[in-house]
């Protein structure tokens, strides 16, 4: 889960990391009491590159804050709607540094990255300024690593990194993060420091045992829709094209992604990605009906493609569930093309044919059938 800056700063502040005083605004017409100015107004989306998109602006008066907040709220940047802005105190007379902790999947450790300069993308930092090492995912190892990396830096900069290290290591390990990045990390001549911007990405797999993160998620299900959905329903579903015409009822992340690629290559517009996990159906139609209702509510969907490769799941059982789920979803009024492979196909064919649904066993032929039906009902 890629946290909003405001949420990330709240997590950091709880763990003792100094952050500029700030407030969150969701409505430009009702600005709460602001900390002392001047301010920076920052549009909150879970994505990088906000500065370039105009979502980080300075304000000298409360009127400017209100105007800027009004201009940012509701904008869509990088396919994400700005639903809130954070207004915080400007930091003056400070230098900018970089501090990042990144889960290094290939090496199997934590990559510690620091730089005496910051404020720009880490990729844009001068190579000779970056110091980096991969260490064990342990508090002491990370702190010791920062101590080594800070050696030789100017005194106030080294002091800031050493002060930040235990707090950021704790945040990274406690929150089960894959990324904790402070950029810029503001440092003053006396060694005091502040987290100027904060980017935290956490592991969705750990969410169930992270009550603090679950609380954040519950407050912002609109901002983290895929994560909220996975936690509530136990499967993965992503709308890939709100104007899409083909609803997909599929299992398996890789095969579902491949199917979307192939449908698009054939000039079709799939509406959604889905990994429903047939193993988790447990003889209930609940998951199937949930997804079919979402697809039925999509404005442009004209056909549904069901594609299941049952390695383990018996396709006879699955087809019975599918027929029941379709009966339980009267809102779905578009044709359904079914392709099944795996065990129990003879039974599956009988069940589907009795329900008036032809069954394909070859995926390419199913897609051709789908194209024919779409052409026949050209809207």
């Amino acid at each position: 889960m890629y946290l909003l800056e405001h949420d990330a700063k709240a997590l950091l502040a709880e763990r003792g990391v100094p952050v500029p005083h700030g407030v969150l605004i969701a409505d430009a017409a009702s600005i709460p009491e602001l900390p002392a100015g001047p301010w920076v107004v920052k549009g909150q989306i879970a994505a990088g590159g906000r500065g370039k998109a105009g979502l980080v602006q300075r304000a000298a008066t409360a009127a400017q804050v209100s105007t800027l907040a009004g201009s940012m709220l509701g904008r869509v940047v990088k396919e994400k709607r700005v639903a809130s802005v954070r207004v915080e105190q400007q930091v003056s007379a400070a230098e900018e540094m970089y501090f990042g902790l990144l889960l290094d999947a290939a090496a199997g450790g934590v990559r510690v990255i620091v730089s005496g300069r910051g404020g720009m993308d880490v990729e844009a930092l001068p190579r000779d300024e970056i110091r980096s090492e991969t260490v064990l995912p342990q508090q002491e190892a990370i702190v010791a690593c920062v101590d080594r990396l800070a050696a030789g830096m100017a005194g106030h900069k080294a002091a800031a990194l050493r002060a930040a290290a235990p707090l950021l290591a704790t945040t990274f390990l406690n929150c089960e993060a894959t990324l904790v990045e402070i950029n810029p990390l503001f440092v003053k001549q006396d060694g005091t420091w502040l987290a100027g911007d904060a980017k935290i990405v956490t592991d969705d797999n750990a969410l169930e045992r992270q009550p603090g993160l679950r609380t954040l998620l519950a407050a912002h299900t609109d901002i983290y829709p895929e994560v909220a959905l996975k936690l509530e329903h136990g499967f993965d579903y992503v709308v890939v094209d709100p104007e899409g015409e083909v609803g997909l009822l599929t299992t398996g992340a890789g095969l579902s992604m491949m199917l979307i690629d192939e449908l698009r290559a054939a000039g079709l517009r799939p509406f959604n990605f889905l990994d429903i996990r047939t193993g988790g159906l447990r003889g209930q139609t609940t998951r199937l009906v949930t997804v079919l209702q979402w697809i039925a509510a999509a404005p442009r969907v004209r056909i549904v493609l069901v594609n299941m490769f049952g390695g383990i799941t018996d396709m006879g059982e699955f087809s019975r569930l599918l027929v029941r789920a379709l009966q339980e979803t009267p809102a779905l009024k578009v044709p359904v093309v079914v392709r099944l492979a795996g065990n129990g196909l003879a039974v599956a064919r009988d069940v589907l044919v009795a329900a008036g649904i032809p069954m394909h066993t070859d995926l390419d032929l199913a897609v051709e059938d789908l194209q024919r039906q779409l052409a026949g009902t050209a809207g």
Partner: protein, 291 residues
Amino acid sequence: MIDPRITRETPVIVQGITGRAGRQHTRLMRDYGTRIVAGVSPNTSTSDVDGIPVFGDCKSAVEATGATTCVAFVGAFDLMKAMEDALQGGVRYIVTPTEGMPLHDALRVKRLVADAGAIWVGASTPGMAIAGEAKLGFLPDASLLAGHLGLMSKSGTLSYEAGFRLAQIGIGTSVWIGVGGDAVKGLRYADLVPFFAADAATRAVLVIGEIGGSEEEEFAAALTASRFVKPVFALIAGRTAPAGVAMGHAGALVHGSHGTFEAKKATLESAGVTVFDSLSKLVAGIRARMG
């Protein structure tokens, strides 16, 4: 060199054998030919499952049977503990089909696996198989045909589909390893390059990958560094996936230009790999070279 081969004779322990998935897959693996000699379940009074003795921990199971290979059917939050138990008990080859293992758990376990010199396949893997011999996990029998293609895949279902279509035209696999879709995992594609280079039964290699992460790029580098001479094919899913959204597999998260389809395709091609963008082209391409 890591050697992931097993045979019909390899004795295997199933962790979590008394659970629903454990029981079901124990039966299916046995039916395929896997020699399952013990089960492990820490809190059970069950003495056997289908005649397979059940032990309280891996140490007892290893001591009683001599098996050092195991498959773990346990929940995501219990997997780290189960793997610690396996490694401490003397297991040296672990396959973990569990989906949703927390990444920080995987980081810790990866270190333990390395320290023990063990092989770990997973998590989020459908398992591995030597077609016609034995399997660990639940690769579908319909996709398994003995042959000469070494297969590695992040995705289960996409590999079932590819393996099934290839089997239908008579092209089978020598060793099939589902490396799984997680970002932090045990075996990665590159780890198996030396094995596939040396394995006499493997005449070509198929890698089924997807966007995100750097595993395909590491694999390409390993091929080049080892001057790999057998033909290598690849299928990469997620060419049209939106950036920044994990599509089911935690590893399939694209940020910026890193880990994109185009980047992976270019890197693999520069290492001599033939990259396909659809299943039917993949099958036709492999048939032309191996059929």
